[in-house]
Amino acid sequence: MQRWPVLLFLAWVCFLFCAGIGLFMSGFLLTRIELASSSSCSDPLVPPPWERQNLPPGSCWAPQRFSKAVLVIVDALRFEFAHFNPDKASPLPYEKQLSFLHHLTTSQPRHARLYRFRADAPTATMQRIKGLTTGSLPTFIDVGSNFATYAIEEDNLLAQLVQNGRRVVFMGDDTWEGLFPKKFFRSYFFPSFNVKDLHTVDDGILQHLYPTVDSGEWDVLIAHFLGVDHCGHKHGPDHPEMAKKLTQMNEMLRSLVNHLGNDTLLLVAGDHGMTETGDHGGDSEKEVNAALFVYSKTPLFSTVPPEEPETVPQVNLVPTVALLLGVPIPYSSIGEVMAELFSGDSDAVSAALQQLSVYHINAKQVDRFLHSYSLVAQDLPAEQLQHLQELFSSAVEEHIQLLAQVQGSVLVSPELESRLGSLISRFQLYLREARAVCTQSWARFHPLRMVGGCALISSSCLLCYLASELTVVSDSFYRSCLLYPLRWGLVVAVLFGLAHALTQEGMDLLLVSSCAAAASQMAFFWHWWGQHPRQARLAGSQPPPASTGLRQRLQAWLGLAFPMGILLFRCGAMFSDSFVVAEGRAAPFLLASLVMLLIGKLHWDGRLTLPEGPRQQFLAFSSYRREIWYLLCLVAMLLVCVRLSSFFHQCREEIPQCRPSLFLSPLASLRNTRAKNLFYLLCVALLAGLVYAVRSWLRHYGNLNSSGPLVLFVRWGFPLVVLCIACYWAVASSTDDSLGKLQELVQVAVVAFPWAVYGLASLGLLLLLCNPMTVFAKDTRESAGSIVTPYLGVPNAEVDFLHVIPQIYKRMQESQKCRLERGSCKATVAAYGLGSVYSAALVITLTLLGFLLMLLHSERLSLAFLLLFLEAFVLLHIHTHARGLAGDAEPFSVPWYAVISWLLAASQFFYSTGHQPIFPAIHWNAAFVGFHLDHSTNVLPAVLVGANTFASHILFAVGCPLLLLWPFVCETPSSQRKKPKKEPRQDLQEVEEHMMEMRLRESPEKFSAALLQLGLKYLFVLGTQLLACVCAAMILRRHLMVWKVFAPKFLFESLGFVVSSVCLLLGISLVMRVDCAVSTWFSQLQLR
């Protein structure tokens, strides 16, 4: 048996997929690290001119210019919506609507100004709100934030306002409620989810806006209108409805301005634009071009506005507003102040000095941020940071010098003005370059990398399919399909690495590995193509008649079409946000359909009815084989399992009427003591039942007779594990006050019991690895020739007597026959459980893993796990029986429908163990099972939470080899009964019927090929699902739901893929380990 090539080949395929995932992820998911620090009034950032004189009361860092501000956010207010071009003859529906803004800018040029407001990608509302308040570039994953909520934990404008005693009133989009919980002095939230609803939010705001403004009980008022955005999503920008909506906004602004006082700053901003179809999320010109309008009743600007409106990056709003209102700039802001707003109506020199001071604060703050950021993250290039540092220090130094000279009145006006101007541009240069450096690493998709990752994953899928179709199992297969690709991949990796090292760009491990993956893939396809004609010729040497060949091929295609059709439906569902949201219901639906289709197909092909024989007309079902009843019962059980598993679902916020399952909450949260006790007893009883079922299965196949350490562990360790889990649940679910003095003991027990389970489970797994043989051998060679009958154990029950038949390997049986015939002294060896030794090891592993995973979930989810085990068992049996009925000629290959149903069950139980592919649904409690609220590293909690999240992926992937083994295990004596009568002399053949898994050992080449093929099929199906997710994320990156639905789904799916593939490798290598052990066992037997 070729163990290493098989494992290496599978590992290589996994690597190909992982390289693809990595490449795609690096292009698609932008990441950034959040800093926990926040600015405060006492930070030493105040520039020289304001250091000495005292700032006016209520001002931090810079003197306050406005005591009040109104920020009106009109969602998706594209620049074209606000820009008024009076000369345009035939305006589009969205043009010339906001005429009031135009009226203000023309009638009061020093009070009002319109800007182009450039948003940064991703242009989704939530990311934009984050950007508009933190002054940073939020990415999809802001590492360091708490995934459990969406709340902004970075320093932000609202936090600064609240911290400095300002009253912030909010009305509008309820996204803000999640982002800023309990920050508002008063708030009026309206639901934002229904995109079809154009008016609820806007009308709600209008109802509260003017009374609130007039009451004066606020310092900062934020109103977030959603109508324009929803209108864009529903109708597109080019629609009469948009004109109505914009007119409404125009009227709102007109009356709002009438209500404002002289000390109030009005800002009207769009958080992003929209494409011609009304969507946003990406980084196209139309999406990033929003509008910003600034107005105040006191003069703001010292100059008249330029002809063409200036462009302002969105991050600039935060430092500007912060300093205008006299609060500190948020710590992570990388924006540049809009200096013209600080000049006031004084003369040019003093205005410039004013602006310089503001720039000075701004530059110091950005420098401080860059410094702290580069300490925790390495994603900003070092030499650029160095360059920025130099720019910063020289500008600051010159500013101080200049101030000293101004103080001494050394400089005369023209020179002073030119020096002031050049210094301002140096500060601007510094701030802009700093922002550019950040933008480059945080806010840009890499389309090339995305396409490359996609291509790599799809070609890996193709490779899996082709390799699983290759049935040639010889040295040349491994050589050509593994060795050459690996060699080529290595060569390319080394060359690429060298080239990189020589050009001194620093090694990009991801790029190198994906290049290596691509190269090795090319090599594989090249060799496959080269081998293809030879195989065709080989196949052609014994040609079947052409017509039947065609028909057979057509039939094979049709047979393939039905499981693949289901897979296609599943993949297609990834492209619709509704189906991703409803996947928890779609996966069981497809699973049930797949199994029903299988039964229907078997029936249609006449496999379920007896082919010949007398038919009794009146007994309706007599023409059916007897197994059909068993099969139908199994299918019914499967359907019931599938239906019951839907009672353990978690909810997503997209479905508001959904109620999360009661079983998800821990027992400790139950008030009713009786119900709590009942549930507790039920869970413990189920655990005990699981142990009993596993033990009786092992006993049935004779794997519990040996006295090896592993069997001893199964006998005594399993109940002990259950006891520990039960104790842990009891301690964890007890209410705190009921225990009184035992409190300290409980604290210890809560940690000790999980550790006992961890320890016992790892002990069990270790024993399994050391000696996975669960075979009990009775060697009768020593005991002379007097005993003729082989040892049968204690026949304490009829069942035992029937089923604990010694599984005797062929050679041994022959020797016995030999002895019986010749009466010589040759003895025999009876081995119990040899026929199921592979499955026994897997079943024991799965049970141990199941215990571990149940421990990590809340108590009542053990019911779901029990369903999982039951469903897997039923699926295996259905597969075995369907296969027996279909009369498969190829016992060593697992059909596609079995693999696909196995994976559908895996994704079904992802949902049925209370998970959803969104971050708030992750069970964070799992990190603290056995730990008391402290972790020294991040690795352990990540492992625990990951194991909790991907529990079903782990169990199904490790159990995957059972799909191959089960039909052999279930080979019962009854299967020969239905065969035509044999001649009595053929008892040798009858013995072969009992060989079960030893059949696999008989042809080790085929066994390893079968394992390889199974692994490849599994990876193919997994990879196809992953590919669908990746394509959906790439194609729909402009979709409204991309950051809420598709991107998290992609992330979970790819992590699930990695976990599954690793566990698949572990499962297959476990089988290989058992095979090793069996080999040594046989060689020892022969030696004796």
């Binding site: 219901r585 779609a586 639906f589 029936h603 009815t609 239906r643």
Partner: protein, 219 residues
């Protein structure tokens, strides 16, 4: 197989399709406020009853499978009762299967059951008309090369099409289109109805196209 028989099949099937259309149109003239979507439950009842009546009448008139021996009155009665029991059992079975496929367990039991009745009308009732309460024959018809007449081929096609239609009808339910027909079980029952109608129209066409290959061996 004769051309006349194919013609009779075509007529019968077209009559069935026509009666489905009538059930959607006629009640709205008689009953104020009737729409297929709005008053779906009553439409389900009306459609099931009408299709049953039309099927039974067609069966009595056309007699696709004349049984050679005359049977006694009591035999007929017992046969009829058996048919009723079978029909009811099939409704229950369909209900259970639909629930197992994910339909709500407790809420909207009436809707689910009426949908099960509709499906039974499209599938089981036809089988009962054509083959009688003889499961043996049912098993034969629904396997490869099992049909012995064009009527049975048509039965195969319409049954499979109705069930497929109901299956596909479940697909739009999770979509966020907010359409009135996405409510359970409207899309499924509409899917089943369309599938049935499509099967009725497809069956004669399919038989016509494959008339060379179709050789029915008499039992």
């Amino acid at each position: 197989m004769s051309g006349a028989e194919a013609g009779r099949l075509l007529t019968a099937n077209l009559l069935c399709v026509f009666s489905i259309v009538l059930t959607a149109v006629v009640p709205s003239f008689i009953w104020e406020g009737f729409t297929v979507l709005g008053t779906h439950l009553s439409w389900l009842c009306i459609c099931s009853v009408c299709i049953s009546i039309v099927n039974i009448l067609l069966h009595l008139v056309l007699k696709p499978n004349q049984s050679p021996k005359r049977s006694s009155f009591t035999h007929k009665i017992s046969r009829f009762l058996k048919c009723c029991v079978y029909f009811f059992m099939s409704c229950i079975l369909f209900h259970v299967i639909i629930v197992l496929y994910g339909a709500p367990l407790i809420e909207s039991v009436t809707e689910t059951f009426l949908f099960a009745v509709l499906l039974s009308t499209f599938t089981t009732l036809q089988c009962l008309c054509m083959l009688g309460p003889n499961i043996q024959a049912w098993i034969r018809v629904f396997s490869k090369n099992g049909a012995t007449s064009i009527w049975e081929s048509s039965l195969q096609i319409t049954t499979v099409c109705s069930i497929l239609g109901a299956w596909f009808g479940a697909f739009p339910i999770p979509l966020d289109w907010d359409r009135p027909w996405q409510v359970w079980p409207i899309s499924c029952s509409l899917g089943a109805t369309f599938g049935y109608a499509a099967g009725l129209i497809l069956a004669p066409l399919w038989i016509h196209w494959n008339r060379k290959q179709l050789t029915y061996k008499s039992r």
